[in-house]
């Protein structure tokens, strides 16, 4: 709780910080390879990549920038890989770091499938959704999208 004595200052500081955070997130999400994920998400990703740091690229996550309702958000993930017996994506894990449980879904692919899948997911709040792809040679790639989750109208 904010102290009643210095409300204006605290509010301005909070806002400055808030703005900075938003800008930083937007920036990272366009350009940065690092995944500044929350601990539970971080752990899930580490277990999936077997400790490797994923490289940004190859995997592409498509989500609306603003979800009309967080309970049903269409999502497509695809990986740029030929899908031959020699080179294919084994698994793509989707995690939503702002959900009560970060795990969303894991797709398992084979050389007999195309590295692309679409489903509809639940997002509890505005947050980053992360896709991590593991290739058959063990290399790992990632993508992240921020989804603003709308909360309706008059509040009830």
């Amino acid at each position: 709780m904010t102290s009643a004595k210095i409300p204006a200052l605290n509010r301005r500081q909070a806002l400055a910080f808030g703005t900075g955070a938003v800008v930083a997130t937007a920036f990272a999400f366009r350009t940065g390879p690092a995944l500044a994920a929350k601990p539970a998400t971080d752990e899930a990703i580490k277990a999936f990549t077997r400790g490797k740091e994923p490289v940004r690229g190859k995997v592409k996550l498509e989500l609306p920038e603003i979800a009309e309702n967080g309970n049903t958000v269409p999502m497509t993930v695809s990986v740029d890989v030929p899908m031959t017996a020699e080179s294919y994506v084994e698994e793509v894990m989707i995690v939503a770091e702002g959900n009560p449980n970060p795990g969303v879904i894991s797709f398992h692919f084979t050389p007999s499938s195309v590295a692309e899948a679409n489903t509809r997911i639940r997002l509890a709040e505005t947050q980053n959704v992360i896709a991590v792809a593991r290739m058959n040679d063990g290399s790992v790639f990632s993508d992240v999208r921020q989804v603003k989750v709308t909360i309706g109208g008059c509040g009830g």
Binding site: N71, A96, N99, G103, I105, H108, S113
Partner: protein, 109 residues
Amino acid sequence: MADVKPRIKLDKKDVAKGGIIEVKTLVSHTMESGQRKDKDGKVIPRKILNKFTCDLNGKTIFSADIESAVSANPYFQFKIKPEETGTLTFTWIDDDGSKIQATEQIKVA
């Protein structure tokens, strides 16, 4: 519904070797997340479909491990590159161990 009939749509059922079939599946299920509470504030236990597989002649060619963050009435759209003629079997596994299953015949020339 007691016996759930999944909706399945293949954009084609006849492809040349190396050809691609787009598959869409939709199945009726509440996907109870385990995070909702009933009117008395008691947590409604989780009951979801936790696994989906697409097999061709008994061999899995695409599958998904599903968590409670997948929306009710799960929808999957994906593409397969079948290498042989045969039966596609789609299976959803419920937390209670029950299965929903459907099959489609495809031809690969």
